[in-house]
């Protein structure tokens, strides 16, 4: 005999309107006879309606895990279990998807079957960090569900003070603008850190994100402790005939408005014959003109990555933007990848050793200063790391000669390369 559907007058109002409704989905899971999820979902709908009525949440944490791992299951116990007993335990399994969120339907259907048998039937594709979130599992089903997901070839994502699940843009799989292979870099780095994902032991979380160009479709710059963005070093590629076609299509005035005037560094000009004049030394690789003229313009041929470190949201000292610590690095050969993975390791180790409890990388760098961070990681100083030199005069400069000599030496060495 099945339990009755709870009345949900407030949630019902979220079933109207043109956008797909999660409430309709929850109800469908609740209404199916003879499945484990129907009881759980009736109860969950009751609790959610209760939240809507009282404008309060009723979940608390706890400890639930799977054998061998110290993270990845987010425990949720209900504070109103006496009224809604069947969803009293509603844990989430965070599972790492393939980079770029690609699936085949066989895999997705298999995931659905597992979650229908062991969980609530509710899956978020995806969480804000990029996990597949299998939401709503009773404690005694967690291990069984996990075993089956793991046997499919999927692994648990991050939670707590460890390396978190990463995110990457679609990259070379379907974007001509990708300046490096975001999907391979994502796998190379994250799969080297499985221990730090599964058994968190850092001062706080550490996030990596991968975007193939300055458009930053993976939202790396402000949402990752380490943001890896694609860029290029040589001149952008211009197909002048296609530029002329674009000018014709938009009209001269609109082309000037939409392309020339919008270049942040005034690196562009329109020649009298409607070809494009690019001052590559002024270009900052922002992608704007390339986005507008997808056929005519492309990044250059000497492609690579730029690494920004320390982006984060509010807690604790306020929002921080990532800072450039590596302006350019090639990422093509196996050695390039090894170098990147090694650098990621060094960043993690330094963070583990030097951050205070509950401090993110950006906050640590603010406390110790960028120069000390670069020194510790053996990274070369570069003028691209700053917006402008210091304005505050409280500084000792007694090592000036020595530092100037180092800079000159590096310039000579780079020139000799």
């Amino acid at each position: 005999m099945s339990k009755k559907m709870p009345p949900t007058p407030m949630l019902d109002q979220l079933e109207s309107g043109p956008w797909p409704s999660f409430v309709t989905g929850l109800k469908r899971l609740a209404e199916v006879e003879g499945k484990a999820h129907s009881g759980i979902m009736k109860s969950l709908l009751g609790q959610l309606e209760h939240s809507y009525q009282t404008r309060k949440g009723y979940w608390k944490g706890g400890t639930v895990g799977v054998f061998g791992y110290g993270a990845g299951v987010i425990p949720r116990f209900s504070e109103v279990a006496d009224q809604y007993p069947e969803s009293s335990e509603f844990h989430t399994l965070r599972i790492m998807p393939a980079p770029g969120f690609f699936y085949d339907t066989k895999t997705l259907r298999q995931m659905c079957d597992i979650w229908e048998e062991h969980g609530s039937g509710l899956i978020a594709l995806h969480g804000q960090s990029g996990d597949i979130m299998f939401q709503g599992c009773r404690t005694e089903q967690v291990q069984a569900a996990w075993d089956k997901i793991n046997e499919m070839g999927f692994d648990m994502g991050g939670a707590g003070a460890g390396v978190r699940t990463a995110a990457s843009c679609v990259g070379p799989a379907r974007c001509e603008q990708a300046c490096y292979d975001t999907l391979s870099a994502h796998r190379a780095i994250i799969n080297d850190f499985t221990d730090d994902i599964h058994r968190p032991s850092l001062p706080y979380k550490m996030k990596f994100k991968f975007s193939g160009c300055a458009n930053d479709c993976a939202n790396a710059t402000q949402r990752a402790d380490v943001a890896i963005l694609g860029t290029w070093k040589d001149d952008m590629q211009v197909d002048q005939a296609e530029v002329q076609a674009k000018v014709k299509q938009l009209g001269r005035k609109e082309f000037i408005n939409q392309v020339i005037r919008m270049c942040p560094t005034q690196a562009l000009g329109l020649n009298d014959d409607d070809t494009l004049d690019v001052d590559n030394k002024s270009c900052v690789r922002c992608m704007h003109c390339i986005n507008v003229c997808t056929k005519a313009l492309k990044p250059g041929k000497e492609k690579g990555i730029c690494i920004l470190v320390g982006g984060k949201r509010t807690l604790k000292i306020g929002d921080l933007m990532g800072t450039v610590v590596v302006p350019f690095m090639k990422l093509e050969t196996e050695e390039d990848y090894e170098k990147l993975v090694q650098l990621a390791h060094d960043m993690l180790d330094f963070f583990a050793d030097n951050a205070l409890e509950h401090e993110r990388t950006g906050e640590m760098i603010e406390r110790i200063g960028l120069v000390n961070y670069l020194d510790a990681l053996g990274l070369d100083l570069d003028v691209n790391m700053i917006n402008q030199p210091r304005t505050n005069s409280y500084i000792r400069t007694d090592g000036w000669e020595e530092e100037a000599r180092k800079w000159a030496e590096r310039k000579t060495n780079n020139a000799a390369e």
């Binding site: 949630l11 797909p20 999660f22 959610l48 998807p97 922002c286």
Partner: protein, 356 residues
């Protein structure tokens, strides 16, 4: 008891096993793309092969029946391949242009709006809310559903000056991240402490260390070790709640919604920007949050009318100036808009650049 199975620490799987074969064939060999219509992308490879992507909105919190329906569509049109975006939209890819209209029709018939490409309002990224988070001031899926109902036409068309990314967060900590418009819960009262429970469940030094303004002190209450909050200092951030649940920050009446604008992650044209507070004190009015929708729609319509092609919201405001922004949106400008947090002077006007 049966023996426990050791996990295989397989890490992140390889994407190529799941990708549409046309993407594998042309991996890294794309030459350009365009948008034949809103919701559709055409990517052309060096080989001359073209792949059409049809993008549709989902409810993100997907039940297995909906996922299976999406799979049926992918089986019928896309050889069983499917992709999700960072903002939980779904993408269907095919090399066969003739299938595109039928695919769009099928998606629309099944209730998945097609759009979200180009200069449109994308799907709103969101957190967990009342469905699953343990400190949410509001729901997430519900707010987003209610808002997307109002904004669906802007999702389905490409009539905005540039992409509009909206994010929501159920507290000021703001897991939802930067947005052209960010809709975040703002707690307005210091935490209410249940002193009877503090000694038992809170690691007091950790809670004290977590507070960004050092407002929390150890205290003895009724002879028991507890905590007290200097309410003058408290910024109502809620950071003390996760390590100490007896410090209840959520409040059904005083947790309000605030709206922030002009954030962007990309370095496209301008450098990345944080979003800025423009409205606060909006009621947490479940189930459809009409007051929030009204402000969001007002901001969007002013931006749509006034911004130049390719200006993101923050770039448009930098051009027209904040006085004009407040004038056009008819939002009140208050002392709460003036930054007095660490480094806040950088947000004050130190020039004779004035807008009248």
């Amino acid at each position: 008891m049966t023996e426990l199975r050791r996990p295989v620490e397989s890490g992140v799987p390889d994407s190529k096993q799941f990708m549409h074969p046309a993407l594998v064939r042309n991996y890294g060999k794309w030459t350009h793309h365009d948008r034949p219509r809103p919701g559709v992308l055409r990517h052309v490879a060096e080989s001359g092969e073209a792949v059409f992507t049809v993008k549709a909105g989902t409810q993100r919190q997907l039940d297995v029946f909906t996922i299976r329906r999406l799979c049926d569509i992918a089986d019928a049109f896309c050889d069983g391949h499917i992709r999700f975006t960072v903002r939980s939209s779904v993408e269907f890819m095919t090399t066969d242009e003739s299938k595109v209209p039928a695919l769009i029709q099928r998606l629309e018939d099944e209730g998945f709006p097609v759009g979200g490409t180009g200069n449109s309002v994308g799907f709103i990224s969101h957190t967990q809310g009342w469905l699953h988070c343990d400190i949410p001031g509001t729901d997430a899926s519900g707010v987003v559903k209610a808002l997307m109902d109002e904004l669906v036409d802007e999702f389905k068309s490409e009539e905005m000056p540039n992409r509009v990314k909206i994010t929501t967060s159920c507290c000021q900590i703001n897991c939802g991240g930067q947005g052209d418009i960010a809709i975040n819960v703002q707690h307005t009262k210091p935490p209410v402490i249940n002193h009877a429970l503090v000694a038992g469940v809170c690691e007091r030094p950790a809670v004290i260390a977590r507070c960004p303004v050092a407002a929390i002190r150890p205290a003895l209450v009724d002879g028991k070790p507890s905590l007290e909050v200097d309410e003058k200092k408290c910024v109502c951030c809620g950071a003390c709640y996760p390590p100490c649940p007896p410090m209840q920050i959520n409040d059904p009446v005083h947790s309000k919604i605030a709206i922030w604008v002009g954030g962007k992650h990309s370095s496209t044209r301008s450098k990345p920007m944080f979003h800025k507070l423009v409205a606060a004190g909006l009621p947490n009015n479940a189930p459809r949050w009409p007051e929030v929708a009204e402000v969001v729609k007002k901001i969007l319509s002013v931006y749509k009318n006034d911004a130049r092609a390719w200006e993101r919201m923050g770039e448009w405001i930098e051009r027209i100036g904040w006085p004009r922004f407040f004038e056009l949106t008819e939002l009140p400008f208050t002392k709460y808009h003036v930054d007095n947090w660490r480094g806040g002077r950088a947000n004050l006007n130190a020039s004779a650049h004035l807008h009248f």
